[in-house]
């Protein structure tokens, strides 16, 4: 069960139940028990009925809006400098932690 379709399909798995949601809730929206139940049931169906590897099934659910598709990990002129600084900072922190080991 997952939301990163390209990563899973490139890797190749026996069975893949894809929900076209932002990353974080591959088994249904938080607190939506009916949707979660439906997704688990679909995953069980897929376990039972698939007959060959790389079988992908997409659940019929959609997120409330599509804004997340463009905003997640977005790189543009508005954040390019901040991202470069964040990368520098992360590498510095990792080097520090490594030195402490």
């Amino acid at each position: 069960m997952g939301c990163a379709r390209d990563i899973v399909e490139e890797c190749g798995v026996a069975r893949f139940l894809f929900s076209d949601f932002p990353l974080g809730n591959p088994c249904g929206k938080p607190w939506d028990t009916r949707m979660q139940r439906s997704i688990v049931e679909s995953a069980l169906d897929l376990l039972d009925r698939a007959w060959m590897p790389r079988t992908t099934v997409q659940t019929p659910f959609y997120w409330d809006n599509d804004g997340w598709r463009d905003t997640f990990m977005r790189v543009d002129d508005g954040n390019r400098e901040a991202l470069a600084r964040a990368g520098e900072e992360r590498r510095r922190r990792q080097a520090e932690l490594k030195a402490q080991r």
Partner: protein, 167 residues
Amino acid sequence: MDHYQPYRSFVSYIDRSREYYAAQGYTRPYTWARHDAVPFAPLPKPLSECRVGLVTTAGRTGADGAIGIGPFKRELYAAPSEPPPERLFTDDLFWDKQATHTDDVDSFLPVNRLAECAASGRIGSASPRFYGVPTDYSQSRTLQRSAPRILEWCREDCVDAVLLAGL
């Protein structure tokens, strides 16, 4: 809504993350696993007789664990399904923190939903434990260390099939 568009609708995380990390100054892009041959096994018996387990990429705790350094440490673990966990640690994983949240464990580890499937007879039983596998940038560690350990735990728990949900 039915409509036409000149691009695919689902997000390519391979493209998106490559550009994102390049903007952070990482010069070598991550190389994703790609397998030409993919194994497949049909269920060994009817689903209503199978014991089903769950695998998650979420962690039990913030910084404890065996893989990585400091706050980047992640742990390989098996934990009881009953009582179901009320929270798991996901802060260190790369999911869309603007669009959603992980306060409801069943939205990424359907431990209660699977127990309901066992109660209704849809599956034989749910595994008494669920299994946590760290998101590890090392594919060889995932293949050689994490996967065999998860398989061992599944065998100890007499699991016939697992559902893996990655954050």
